[in-house]
């Protein structure tokens, strides 16, 4: 379970996250929606342990910067995190070794699912941006994290990879993982989400739980109602 309690983050005078609190339970997919500059990437990076913040973030009960938390946390950054001079296969070997894990064949499975297996001996710098994004996703998943945070994971992916990633989301959820996905593309999240938080100006402006029987406002309608007129900073 991922828990975010009263988290605030300032960049100089700019309050990027203002007293945010939410949690993502085991086997749950939470999405963060919001216009550009709403503070989605900031909270994602804070959870990943890349930023300093006020408040508390725990990962399965461990402080997010502890080694215990890092072991079970996966992070897909907005920009593909790929080493120019490592081959595709070596990326996964490196992560496996750094996380002290044996090769159980999961890396190969991931590369095959994302159509990278035939490129396993290609260097990172030789990959297109979409392929780099797929590799970045594989790197975040290969150590079998229990809590995974995705920052705009679908940007730059081809239709097959988008389909595959959505299937991976659902499978991870079924395996009991907690997923937090940040995006500003509402149509990309469709109906696999469990809870959606709409962020505006560093705050959660609304939260919607996915209930198929709910015939009220759709997520998209809710989003535009909240964000239009007060969106981008």
């Amino acid at each position: 379970m991922l828990s975010v309690s009263n988290v605030s983050k300032k960049y100089g005078k700019l309050l990027a996250n203002d007293d945010l609190s939410f949690s993502v339970n085991d086997g749950q997919i939470a999405i963060l929606l919001g216009p550009n500059g709403a503070g989605k990437s900031t909270i994602i990076k804070s959870i990943a342990g890349l930023l300093r913040f006020e408040g508390e973030i725990t990962v399965d009960g461990f402080a997010n910067k502890s080694l215990e938390a890092k072991r079970i946390l996966g992070y897909v950054p907005e920009m593909p995190a790929v080493y120019d001079l490592l081959t595709v296969g070596e990326h996964l070997e490196f992560i496996r070794r750094a996380y002290r894990m044996d090769d159980d064949g999961y890396g190969e499975t991931l590369l095959k699912r994302f159509e990278l297996w035939d490129k396993k001996d290609k260097l990172g710098k030789e990959l297109s941006k979409g392929m780099q994004q797929k590799l970045s996703i594989c790197c975040a998943l290969v150590h079998r994290p229990h809590i995974i945070i995705f920052d705009e994971p679908l940007v730059g992916l081809d239709p097959h990879a988008i389909k595959e990633l959505k299937e991976v989301f659902v499978e991870l959820k079924e395996e009991g993982a907690s997923l937090l996905i940040s995006t500003h593309m509402i149509d990309s999240v469709e109906n696999y989400w469990d809870v959606a938080h709409i962020m505006v100006n560093g705050k959660i402006a609304a939260t919607k739980v996915n209930n198929p029987e709910d015939e009220g406002e759709s997520l998209e309608e809710m989003f535009f109602k909240i964000t239009e007129g007060q969106g981008s900073e």
């Binding site: 990943a48 930023l51 750094a98 710098k125």
Partner: protein, 524 residues
């Protein structure tokens, strides 16, 4: 449209100056820079004494020829690779399609390049102290050396661009130009070596040959060395020879590019795109690998390492593929310069040579792949203690530091007639300074994060190193006061500095370990 380029130049300059006042830290660094320069100048003059004898200035002219030649050859040979470019992507996108004459745009590019070339040579200004002490160089003469160095880089870049423009489309032309280029270099190098070794007194022969007109005929660096040598020794003929031929060369190259029907826009487009992607990546917090265009993958698989030391083994593979040798070019040049220095200073003992070599080391000390790691999330995310990750990320440099120290002090042993024990102490001390300087880089990263202005970062880095060296200096003073001597007083000083470097480095690393806790600390 006529004024568009001058408007651009002036506005950029104006904004640069404004940003100095908008960011007080930059202003402070600029003031520190001026302050340090002042200390160097006045400190250098402090040792002046009436009737003080100085060494023959022609030795310095000869040194300038060697330095300029290394710089020119390494810069100009880029023309056989990517050619380099004076233009950014904003120039390519906005200026190239605009109704401005190509030649005018070229001059704009040249002017900008010349100003950035000047900045590269700034480190020379800090050499005033020893140059004044040993050769009696005035500050004006040092400025002449600085300008000569900067112009050598500038003309080297211009030569690279010309070579690239005229050979990039035709492999046969490229090969011919390459052979001609290296034949000229080899010819002059052979001429110098033959003269040096055919004489009993190698040093005098080297100085005499380097100052001969035959050597000064070497393209660009020879001419520049002639002009600078002319200023240093008051030899007007040499000054005129060097200056005139350099100006003619510059005019000829500009004329060739301007008059040729070649569309240089196309030539610079690709290199502009490459440098732009590097700039964009830097702004986005990503440091590109500066990977060569054609990488030989070779054997795949990391094969070794678990936990934090997986980073070390990964770096070994990356270095192999980017063809980074144990010693990079700047380190090798500085080792050579230090050896040459030891020849000149052989009567002054090992301390002067050691201090000089450590001083040169300042300019070649680098963090290797550590900075690149900071731009990726893995170094922060991997569940290992930060200090372990830090040490493993810096480990790749160790073999290079050892080789550097050995390559330097083994020849120095014979030049200065050191004993084996003294040589070993110097080698070990040099290695500890490599460690100290590398850790100094980490401290600068930790305290300042990313600073776009390299010169300012270097200045802060110097301040940090001075502070980190204090315990070693204190120990050497203490031992001296207590009358403790090991081998001799010089070696005791060097040894005590070395002994303190390690605990200081470890302590500094420990205190900086949270550089890997938050990417934010590194401005990424």
């Amino acid at each position: 449209m006529k004024g568009a380029l001058s408007y651009l130049l002036l506005t950029r300059l104006k904004n640069e100056i404004r940003s100095l006042f908008k960011h007080p830290s930059r202003l402070i660094y600029a003031l520190i820079f001026v302050g340090l320069l002042g200390i160097t100048i006045f400190g250098g003059k402090a040792s002046d004494a009436p009737g003080k004898s100085v060494r023959d200035i022609s030795e310095l002219s000869a040194g300038a020829l060697v330095l300029f030649s290394v710089i020119f050859v390494t810069t100009a040979q880029n023309g056989f690779g990517n050619g380099g470019t004076f233009f950014g992507m904003q120039d390519v996108n906005l200026m190239f399609p605009a109704p401005i004459r190509q030649q005018r745009v070229l001059f704009y590019g040249l002017f900008r390049q010349m100003t950035s070339s000047m900045l590269i040579g700034i480190f020379l200004l800090f050499q005033y102290s020893w140059m004044h002490d040993i050769y009696g160089v005035t500050f004006g003469a040092l400025i002449a050396i600085f300008i000569g160095y900067s112009l050598t880089i500038f003309l080297g870049q211009l030569t690279a661009m010309t070579i690239y423009s005229f050979t990039s489309g035709n492999e046969k032309h490229r090969q011919i130009a390459k052979v001609v280029f290296y034949l000229i270099v080899a010819g002059f190098a052979a001429g110098l070596l033959i003269n040096v070794f055919s004489s009993e007194d190698h040093l005098s022969a080297a100085v005499k040959t380097a100052n001969s007109y035959a050597m000064r005929a070497f393209p660009v660096s020879g001419w520049m060395a002639a002009a600078v040598g002319g200023i240093l020794s008051g030899e007007i003929k040499a000054l005129i020879f060097g200056a005139v031929i350099s100006v003619v060369y510059l005019a000829a190259i500009v004329l060739i590019i301007s008059l040729s029907k070649r569309d240089y826009y196309e030539d610079v487009l690709k290199t502009a795109e490459i440098s732009q992607s590097a700039i964009t990546a830097k702004k986005e917090g990503i440091i590109t690998d500066a990977a060569p265009r054609n990488v030989k993958v070779g054997k795949t698989g990391i094969g070794k390492g678990e936990g934090a030391n997986a980073f070390y083994y990964k770096h070994l593979i990356e270095n192999r593929r980017s063809k980074i040798l144990i010693l990079d070019m700047p380190s090798l040049i500085f080792v050579l310069v230090s050896i040459v220095f030891s020849v000149f200073m052989r009567e002054h003992g090992v301390t002067a040579v050691f201090i000089f070599s450590v001083y040169m080391q300042l300019f070649s000390s680098a963090l290797g792949r550590f900075n690149k790691e900071l731009s990726k999330p893995y170094i922060y995310m991997v569940p290992e203690p930060p200090l372990n990750k830090l040490i493993q990320c810096l480990r790749e440099g160790l073999s290079g530091w050892c080789v550097q120290a050995i390559l330097l002090f083994v020849p120095v042993k014979f030049i200065l007639g050191l004993t084996t024990a003294e040589t070993v102490i110097c080698i070990v001390a040099r290695i500890t300074f490599s460690i100290l300087f590398t850790v100094g880089n980490v401290v600068a990263e930790r305290v300042l994060g990313i600073i776009q202005t390299r010169a300012l970062l270097i200045l802060f880095y110097f301040v940090i190193l001075v502070i980190m060296s204090v315990p070693g200096i204190a120990l050497s003073i203490l031992l001296s006061n207590l009358g403790v001597t090991v081998i001799d007083e010089y070696i005791t000083t060097i040894g005590s500095l070395a002994i303190m470097n390690i605990p200081v480095s470890v302590l500094a690393l420990f205190l900086c370990r949270n550089v890997l806790q938050y990417s934010e600390l590194n401005g990424r």
